[in-house]
């Protein structure tokens, strides 16, 4: 059996860092899981061996915890993590570079790091007509014994919903639950994030006012899980940012906010708070970084004041955040020109987790 060594590459910030030397009084400080995240690097000689039987093997030194079986011929994007019985189940869209065939697949990891093989749970090929020939960007949640999956269809045409009893075989609904409409969605909708709330299902998604243009984040809700009503925009590109000298500067997410992932959490005082990780870009050609925002009502979100929370020299998109084993795990899609593309992982295990979701 192999062993996978973990190397820490980078800290994601220190807004809640601990200072003060050797004196007591600073152990187990509350940690919301916003910062600091440190990226995981696969470093072992036999990296990729897995307790669940891996034939998906990121190369030693790989920045990815999950890559498609054919890294050169396929792209994996927009992961969605679910903690199920202590395991982390990671869903992601996989697209064949040539031919454009798309599937949604899942992989499991007992420790959240060493993932087994990808298994297809839903494919565009052979699917209903409303798939529009393409599916992706899954957002999977547990609703009691049932698994729910929202996913993008038709390259921006809409968002569909599928259900499953076992998290492996998903049955899509009769049609999309949301299709792009109106000026705010004229450029398409996608990247859904699904939340099972006390008043029903809540769907967060990105929308573009023009094709290829900047995205903003919107929300729709459904008491019955069938009919969704739009609640409007919840986050637009950042404005009114100041540099350290107090002078106006371009916000890190001024151009576009994308790929939301919302979680409904409970604070240590029992209060409900909506957590939102998302990707942002400062300009049309700028790289994407990850930021955090939160809301008490799920409608008006406040940005974390030390954003971005994950900022590297490469593109990071599509965050998915779970709490597992006393650590916050942040999965994201990452593009590296030299090492390819895949799903990366950053871990925040500072202090004691203070929010549950």
């Amino acid at each position: 059996m192999g062993r996978l060594a973990i190397g820490w590459l980078a800290a994601a910030g220190a807004g809640c860092g601990t200072l003060g030397g050797d004196g007591g009084g600073a152990n187990e400080l509350p940690n919301r899981g916003i910062v600091p995240y440190e990226k995981v690097t696969v470093g072992g000689a036999d990296a990729g061996a897995s307790d669940v039987g891996a034939d998906v093997a990121p190369a030693p030194g790989s920045p990815f915890v999950l890559q498609p079986e054919d890294p050169k011929g396929q792209r994996i994007a927009e992961p969605s993590a679910v903690v199920d019985g202590g395991r982390v189940v990671l869903f992601a869209g996989v697209r064949t570079v040539k031919g454009g065939a798309t599937v949604i697949a899942r992989a499991e990891a007992e420790d959240g790091v060493r993932f087994g093989p990808l298994e297809t749970v839903l494919a565009a090929e052979g699917g209903p007509e409303w798939f529009g020939g393409a599916i992706g960007a899954p957002a999977v949640v547990r609703d009691g014994e049932r698994w729910l999956m929202a996913f993008a269809v038709g390259d921006g045409a809409g968002i569909g919903l599928a259900t499953s009893e076992d998290g492996v075989a998903f049955t899509p609904g009769a049609g999309p639950v949301l299709t792009a409409e109106g000026e705010d969605e004229a450029g398409g909708v996608g990247s859904p994030s699904l939340v099972v709330g006390p008043e029903g299902l809540v769907l967060f998604y990105e929308a573009r006012r023009e094709a290829g243009g900047p995205a903003h984040l919107r929300r729709a809700s459904s008491p019955d899980g069938v009919t969704f009503t739009r609640d409007g925009a919840v986050l637009e590109g950042g404005v009114d940012c100041l540099d350290p000298q107090g002078e106006p500067e371009t916000c890190w997410d001024a151009f576009s906010v994308e790929t939301p992932e919302a979680r409904l959490a409970t604070t240590a005082t029992g209060r409900r708070v909506w957590r939102l990780f998302y990707a942002g870009r400062a300009s049309a050609k700028g790289k994407a970084d990850l930021g955090f925002a939160a809301s008490f009502d799920g409608l008006v979100f406040e940005r974390y004041r030390f954003n971005p929370v994950l900022d590297d020299s490469v593109d990071e998109r599509a965050p998915s955040n779970v709490l597992s084993g006393g650590r916050y795990l942040l999965y994201f899609a990452e593009d590296r020109s030299t090492k390819g593309q895949g799903v990366g992982l950053a871990i925040d295990d500072a202090g004691a987790p203070s929010e549950r979701f």
Binding site: C16, G25, P30, T267, A268
Partner: protein, 438 residues
């Protein structure tokens, strides 16, 4: 030839401060839950009421040890707040002067681990603000007391502390291309500036049954100031014969001030009633926490690098903590179970309630505290030691338990870095003191 000089402050910890507000002074006072303003009858009067020293009969020498172990939690997780422990004791020397009772005394709390601590954490880092630095310090106080008229005693005490300010000056030549051509000289300049912290007391003992005490303890606030002053030229020796001066008369000045060793101004009123073998006492203490300064370093930076494109971002001053004045209540009872010329046994117990001076923390600061209930039990055993000692040996023992009522903190900003949390806990302490009377 380039030259550079630098100033850097050295900052040894300050000499003294006061943990006695938190856990008490002496085993008897601990057993009374701190209700000592009217009842102090040993070295602890240096803190509780210096006037009571003049009412003590005979010279006495006390030496003991005290220990308090906190378990203070955020969201149920122990923050591992440091213990407070150390030797306590004192000497009381009574006498008469012009027919009036007088007394001089010295009291000491000598921690065996940390003589003092100044730790200035970022304001957003949660900390139990009253138990972070406050219990970790030495206390040395001296007092004088006099009977000004029958049954009326006045006393005053002083505790000497020290603010710290110092500099390490560095001067020399710096070459960024040839380290061997860099030379530096240094000098140290440290000042310990005296701070006097007075205590005044009055004790009125009408009849045999009543004791009424009043004490006033002045606030104090120790400072630790750190300065860094670097100025001079920087050169590049690409050609040793023609060095290039990259920066002439550049300067970096950092001034840092810490004001987190704070004890509030206090006025304490105590009333005790003694009847047969029983004594009951009540203490009410007002504490002026509204003057508590931000326990976070203030930093000012001035950078002048000429044409070089470097700037230092401005540093926001810490927010005012906005603490509130409080009134602390203490009640205690004591029973003389055995009272013979040789052996004696007194049992005592007390209760205290200290509301938290710390307000809710909805913003950037996280100064954590909670209402505190305290319960204490204690005993004094008196045993004859003749002929080794002229008077019996007294041994005071006490245990106390403080509960910090769990408190929920809610943040206004849903994206606050720390978020909501719950804070509470307990502190368990014990103390033992032996007393020799002469």
């Amino acid at each position: 030839m380039a030259a550079l000089s630098a100033g850097l402050a050295l900052a040894p910890p300050p000499a003294a401060a006061n943990p006695l507000d938190a856990f008490g002074f002496g085993a008897r006072a601990m057993g009374l839950a701190g209700a000592g303003t009217a009842l102090a009858d040993d070295f602890s009067a240096n803190y509780y009421n210096p006037a009571a020293l003049a009412a003590i009969d005979g010279l006495s020498l006390d030496l003991g040890y005290t220990f308090t172990a906190p378990r203070l939690t955020l969201n149920g997780a122990d923050l591992d707040v440091d213990q407070s422990r150390g030797f306590q004791g004192g000497l009381v020397v009574p006498g008469t002067l012009f027919g009036r009772r007088v007394a001089a005394s010295v009291g000491l709390h000598l921690p065996d681990r940390l003589v003092s601590r100044i730790r200035s954490l970022p304001q957003q880092q949660p900390r139990f603000v009253l138990y972070d630095n406050r219990p970790q310090r030495i206390v040395i106080s001296t007092s004088l007391a006099v009977e000004v008229m029958k049954d009326l005693y006045l006393g005053a005490g002083l505790t000497f502390l020290a603010n710290t300010r110092g500099k390490l000056d560095i001067a020399g030549e710096v070459s960024i291309t040839d380290a061997e051509r860099t030379t530096l000289l240094s000098a140290v300049d440290v000042d310990l500036q005296a701070v006097r912290y007075p205590t005044f007391g009055a004790l009125f003992t009408p009849g045999r049954h009543w004791r009424i005490g009043l004490a006033w303890r002045e606030e104090f606030n120790l400072r630790l100031d750190i300065d860094v002053d670097v100025h001079g030229d920087i050169m590049a020796d690409f050609d040793p014969d023609n060095p290039v001066v990259l920066l002439e008369d550049g300067r970096f000045l950092l001034q840092s001030g810490n004001t987190n060793l704070f004890s509030p101004r206090q006025v304490a009123l105590g009333i005790a009633h003694q009847r047969d073998a029983w004594t009951a006492a009540v203490d009410v203490t007002w504490q002026q926490w509204s003057r508590f300064p931000a326990p976070t370093a203030t930093v000012a930076i001035d950078l002048d690098l000429g044409e070089l494109p470097f700037q230092v971002p401005p540093i926001d001053p810490p927010e005012a903590p906005g603490f509130n004045d409080i009134v602390v209540l203490r009640a205690a009872g004591e029973w003389s179970a055995i009272d013979t010329p040789g052996f004696g046994l007194k049992l005592r117990g007390g209760y205290s309630f200290e509301p938290s001076p710390a307000p809710d923390q909805p913003g950037a600061t996280n100064y954590v505290d909670g209402d505190k209930h305290g319960a204490a039990l204690g005993a004094t055993l008196r045993v004859p030691m003749a002929p080794v000692l002229p008077k019996p040996l007294e041994i005071d023992l006490a245990v106390q338990h403080h509960w910090l009522v769990e408190r929920a903190y809610y943040k206004d900003d849903p994206a606050d870095p720390v978020g909501d949390y719950r804070a509470g806990g307990r502190m368990v302490g014990a103390s033992a003191t032996t007393r020799l009377r002469f």
